[in-house]
């Protein structure tokens, strides 16, 4: 697996200090991402699913170097070479990293500078990295506008964000991410702020582009239905830990972790009038501040066994069935 992975994440951790006083250094930490492992194959799209606050965005931001990891590694394969992105500090290396790895943000209303035109926004990676001449950039921007379905390109190029709809803005954000021909894109809930009717078209667009341009995605979402539509594999995250990781259809047909099962029973349907049925799990979201050394899901788990889960640390992520990884003591290993 290691050799063919495009992106490999090893024991990635991010802690935020909870500052109690200005004069004392922090003793408490939020374990936003707490030892996460996964890998993404070239051209693969991995879904990262979990409820609000579980650390999805934090993970994604560490992968694009918007955030420094507390510990752990992110290995990226570029031009056949595997590099730890933490070691990319050199100006030229950083430049090639910035065109190799891109991100699409959650909120299309906030991810475009209101004072810059669509052209400025999309061409920004080219401008700041000094790629091409102005006419070349113009051509490239027009090309990408056509690619993401904003046609005719000339009528969109010099609009300001407030002259676009939410879906159009997210298409602009996609175009900006793709203009430097990245090989890996982190998409942080790119459709969650959009109208349901526009969501599908944006998701279809991303699928089409992934296929055509051969990019790998880390697709962050809280919506299993969206993940199913978009992703080859799904990683389910809970309080900074990945609790289950399996190919999409396998995970949905045969969920093993109690949290995944609960999630599946409450899959949100992309329909505004649809009401969530009560979730099977008890209690509210646990705190990720200085978590106790036991299964993160223990307090809410309907299957929890005091004798087994109680005294032990958080269960390791193990391959319980072929290519189906679960972090739970009560899930038996199935023979292949």
């Amino acid at each position: 697996m290691t050799t063919e992975a495009h992106v490999e994440v090893k024991n990635l951790e991010k802690r935020y200090p909870v500052q109690k006083s200005v004069f004392r250094s922090a003793k408490d930490f939020i374990h936003a991402v707490d030892g996460v492992n996964f890998s993404i194959a070239p051209g693969e799209s991995l879904g990262l699913v979990g409820e609000s606050g579980c650390g999805k965005t934090t993970t994604g931001r560490m992968l694009v170097k918007l955030l420094e990891a507390t510990s752990g590694q992110v290995l990226l394969k570029t031009d056949g070479e595997v590099v730890d992105i933490a070691n990319i500090t050199d100006k030229d290396d950083l430049k090639s990293f910035r065109s190799d790895v891109q991100m699409i943000f959650q909120d299309p209303f906030e991810s475009m500078n209101p004072r810059r035109t669509v052209y400025d926004t999309i061409a920004e990676p080219l401008t700041v990295q000094r790629i091409g001449t102005v006419p070349e950039r113009e051509t490239k921007v027009a090309e990408l506008l056509n690619l993401v379905g904003l046609t005719p390109a000339e009528s969109f190029m010099f609009r300001f964000p407030h002259e676009l709809s939410g879906g159009q803005r997210q298409r602009v954000a996609i175009a900006r991410a793709l203009i430097v021909d990245p090989t890996f894109v982190v998409a942080d809930e790119p459709t969650s702020m959009l109208d349901v009717s526009i969501r599908i078209s944006v998701m279809d667009l991303m699928l089409k582009l992934a296929e055509r341009l051969d990019v790998s995605y880390l697709y962050i979402t809280h919506d299993l239905a969206v993940a199913r539509y978009m992703c080859d594999r799904i990683a389910v995250m809970y309080l900074g830990k990945i609790v289950e990781l399996a190919p999409t259809e396998d995970l949905l047909a045969n969920p093993m972790h109690p949290y995944t099962k609960a999630l599946l029973s409450a899959v949100p349907v992309p329909d505004p009038s649809y009401k969530r049925p009560p979730v099977e799990i008890k209690g509210g979201i646990s705190k990720s501040i200085n978590p106790q050394p036991r299964c993160r899901f223990y307090d809410r788990c309907p299957m929890a066994r005091e004798d087994i889960c109680g005294p032990q640390d958080h269960p390791p992520l193990e391959e319980k069935a072929p290519d189906h990884w679960v972090a739970c003591y009560l899930v038996d290993k199935q023979s292949a």
């Binding site: 991100m103 906030e110 379905g149 239905a225 949905l252 899959v267």
Partner: protein, 374 residues
């Protein structure tokens, strides 16, 4: 199972979203980029002007500023024409002199210089005259006449000419103070907000310190060491203002801007720190800066009057100096008798300062959509 209704089942045409948006005229791509940008700037300007013009107080302010600007422009024109040539010596605002001669009838001759007499019209000393004589005396200050529409000052100079000439100094000072304020406040505020940490703490503690310094006493102290030039006053006001209160306000605005996702997006695009600051943070702080620029002009114009009044400013002629001269010659407390000495200059200071303030208020409503009445 809920999953059966997969998102793909929903019908959605990608073009649905496109039709909703208003149709803007297509911009020909054959145009060079700069020309397109110019046209966009013009379009934005028109839009903002529309918002500004909705507010009548802003228009009133602009109108007043326009009138003063005309006065400033008219002065050299008048000096070259009506007030020019042989008249220069009369109408020059600084070195001009005109003796308006008036005839007086001597009503009483006092031998004891210390005796108190009631003044009817004027009192002259060292004049050999008998009661009943008619003597001609040059009169300064002279009340308005057809020759001097606003009269002359205690030194025999034309007040209208002084008033118009001083407008230029007021604009110049306001401009210097405002530009320095905006430049410093925007830079300091944006840097502090963007870099956070030590830079932020250092700049903001400095700002607190400067904020605490009382402007007028400081200027008086500085004025005690050397006579301040007009541009120096502008720079001092700009620095103290820009590094103090305005920087603190702009920093909080910049703080809100620099955590926006578009700044992260630019970072992911590979933008350097300076790219982020100059292309993303500052352009979004600048509208607020311009607002404070207007208030800065107001303050500078008022301060000039105060400093000139104390005689701390090295300036040929200004509204404050006009009042100061009246004061030095002992006319300050004779208000209505010599109204032309105090009233025009005082009004000019107040009205022009107020006009910039009004423009600032109207701009506030363009910049802060929350204040918009709708």
């Amino acid at each position: 199972m809920a999953l059966e209704q997969k998102p793909g089942d929903l019908q959605a045409d990608p073009l649905v979203a496109l039709e909703g948006a208003e149709d803007l005229p297509a911009i020909e791509l054959t145009d060079p980029l700069w020309r397109i940008r110019l046209r966009l700037l013009w379009r934005n300007f028109k839009k903002n002007w529309g918002l500004f013009a909705e507010n009548k107080i802003g228009l009133v302010g602009l109108f007043i500023i326009g009138v003063f600007a005309l006065m400033a422009i008219a002065h050299p024109v008048l000096m070259a024409t009506v007030w020019g040539g042989d008249n220069t010596e009369i109408y020059d605002p600084v070195i001009g002199y005109d003796a308006v001669v008036k005839e007086f009838i001597v009503v009483e001759v006092v031998t004891d210089p210390l005796s108190e007499i009631e003044l009817i019209d004027a009192r002259f000393t060292n004049i050999n005259a008998q009661v009943g004589d008619i003597i001609s005396q040059p009169q300064q200050p002279a009340p308005p006449s057809s020759k001097h529409l606003l009269g002359t000052d205690p030194l025999g100079r034309d007040v209208l000419s002084q008033l118009m000439f001083s407008t230029r100094a007021a604009f110049f000072l306001g401009m210097v103070a405002a530009l320095v304020t905006v430049f410093i406040a925007t830079t300091v505020g944006s840097m502090a907000a963007f870099f956070r940490g030590f830079v932020d703490s250092f700049l903001m503690r400095l700002a607190d310190l400067i904020l605490l310094m009382p402007l007028i006493p400081i200027l008086i102290v500085i004025g005690g060491f050397w006579t301040i030039e007009l541009w120096q006053l502008g720079v001092i006001i700009g620095v103290l203002n820009g590094f103090g209160g305005v920087a603190i306000v702009l920093r909080s605005q910049a703080l809100a801007v620099s955590v926006k996702p578009f700044v992260d997006a630019a970072r992911v695009a590979g933008g350097s720190k300076w790219h982020l600051i100059f292309r993303h943070v500052i352009p979004n702080v600048l509208p607020l800066s311009f607002l404070y620029m207007m208030f800065g002009v107001t303050e500078a114009i008022s301060l000039e009057a105060v400093l000139s009044f104390f005689g701390l400013l090295n300036v040929d002629m200004s509204w404050g100096l006009m009042i100061s001269v009246a004061q030095a010659e002992g006319y300050l407390l004779r208000g209505l008798d010599v109204w032309w000495l105090l009233f025009p200059a005082g009004m000019a200071v107040s009205v022009l300062a107020a006009a910039f303030f009004l423009v600032g208020r109207a701009m506030d409503e363009v910049v802060n959509p929350r204040l918009r009445q709708r």
